[in-house]
Point group: C2
Chain length 302, copies 2
């Protein structure tokens, strides 16, 4: 409740149209797309995660916001608390690999001293350019809800990273080394009436598009694609599908697109998983009929 | 040493010309100026500092980097760890006041959960526009070293905030509510061959301009202006002048400017405190002759 108050206070400061009312993944200033994400030790990653993977994730979560706006990355700024030389060196290795992988230069930032034992809070700002950045608020009644990317693999990978279960490397990698869908985002942006990345969970992120667009969204849980690795790991029943759809950290893209854009959207590899209609809220169904909404649709702070 | 290694690693990633080799206060991409500063509880501010002042300072240190590039602010992105509702609310109050004072909109950012008891690490990215952003690397032999703003007041204010001594509100305010010299920066930029803000200490920041420009800098310690409040608080002897020149947190501007620009520079209120010549390093003097360099020229991480 206090957190909601704080965000409402920030929203009151976000009067510039580029801020999009803080309802979007990124600020859009002319053709510039600007996003800033923080990841916190013990919240967004485990203290035991390899530092190179943490660097990768910091880059990936920021670039995923650019992907959701159809943007080409221009560069990043890093906010980094120095704390431990060997961890820092391994982080630098991972940062080098991740920036090279996505061909993004480091443009600046800040390194600061951190108190001994302080939980690391790592910040990154990513800057991109997009000729036509879709807005989270732009879905229209009659649009389909489309998805490109994997859902649920990362949440399964988190359970493996936590040592709760053994599981395949592919799922662990989905959690530790998510891949922002930059190319897909650029291909989809011209056809999308709204687009966002799935960071906090498919159900909550789809609901946010609906709320920002003042619509209701319906999702066919069976239509949400699953990897063979996830089916083998978690099974395929309704509980497993709900867990995947609320797990978060997926960095898939979801979008609203009108029926006439279907062929272009399908060509990118996206799959139709639902649609938008007049109203409010989320409706779920599967082969067995209506699905009661779970208590938790995803992470409230991701 | 390990920190220097880490920064050298980052520098290797900063291959884009906009990064200016990470030698500058900000990245400069066309007419855009981009900076990201972090401030850390217990390092850049005291846990007992009022949250509204911490918000002010976060805004001010970022806008000061824009001032040093002669930029007009466009907006800011905030990276904020939520930890305590009453602190957060007071921070929001201060943020509202600071952004209104400098007429800067919030464009976006990220709020995250922080572990209980974690030291806050607050990030801000500021975006500005400047037609002609001076480079820290641009000083030329024969240029004067000019200063606009107060030196030493903030370090005295820190001693007061720490309870080490009683002192006037004006000095405490210089520490808690520094004012970025945006207007002066815009007026000076067309005449400056190099410019930077004084965040880590006058001596270290002037030496950084010299090093980035492959020159030597000479400073007349007696020419560095002092406020009457500082003279009354700390006295006026060499030790007091050295303390002021190494104290940091001033958010004054220093610049290199050629002799023919002197009249235009004076018109902004700047004062000549030294000059650049061929060579390397820092030379200090005062009315009594050469001044041995202090062990510490300022903060290595500010």
């Amino acid at each position: 409740m206090a957190e909601a108050d704080f965000i409402a206070r920030l929203r009151a400061l976000a009067t510039h149209p580029a801020a999009r009312g803080l309802m979007d993944d990124a600020a859009v200033l002319g053709d510039l797309v600007l996003t800033h994400d923080m990841i916190v030790e013990g919240v967004h990653y485990l203290a035991t995660d390899p530092p190179a993977d943490v660097a990768w994730k910091l880059v990936a979560v920021n670039l995923s916001d650019l992907a959701a706006k159809g943007a080409e990355p221009v560069g990043v700024l890093l906010g980094y608390p120095l704390r431990d030389a060997s961890w820092d060196a391994a982080f630098a290795d991972g940062l080098t690999v991740a920036l090279a992988r996505f061909a993004v230069p480091l443009l600046g930032g800040d390194t600061v001293s951190a108190p001994v034992g302080a939980s690391r809070m790592l910040g990154m700002t990513a800057i991109g350019r997009s000729a036509d950045a879709p807005d989270r608020r732009g879905a229209r009644a009659g649009d389909g809800l489309w998805l490109v990317g994997a859902i649920g693999d990362a949440a399964a990978g988190l359970a493996i990273a936590r040592g709760e279960r053994d599981g395949p490397d592919a799922l662990l990698a989905a959690y530790r080394r998510p891949v922002p869908l930059l190319e897909e985002g650029r291909a989809l942006a011209p056809h999308a009436s709204a687009m966002a990345d799935v960071s906090d969970g498919l159900l909550i992120d789809a609901t946010r598009i609906a709320a920002a667009s003042r619509l209701s969204v319906t999702i066919d849980l069976d239509a949400v694609p699953r990897s063979p690795a996830l089916d083998a790991f978690a099974g395929d029943d309704r509980a497993a599908r709900l867990a995947a759809a609320t797990g978060g950290d997926d960095y898939a893209l979801i979008l609203a697109a009108p029926p006439h854009a279907a062929a272009a959207v399908v060509a990118t590899g996206a799959i139709r998983i639902g649609g938008f209609v007049a109203g409010a809220g989320l409706t779920l169904f599967d082969r067995d009929g209506a699905v009661p909404l779970p208590d938790r649709l995803g992470w409230e702070h991701g």
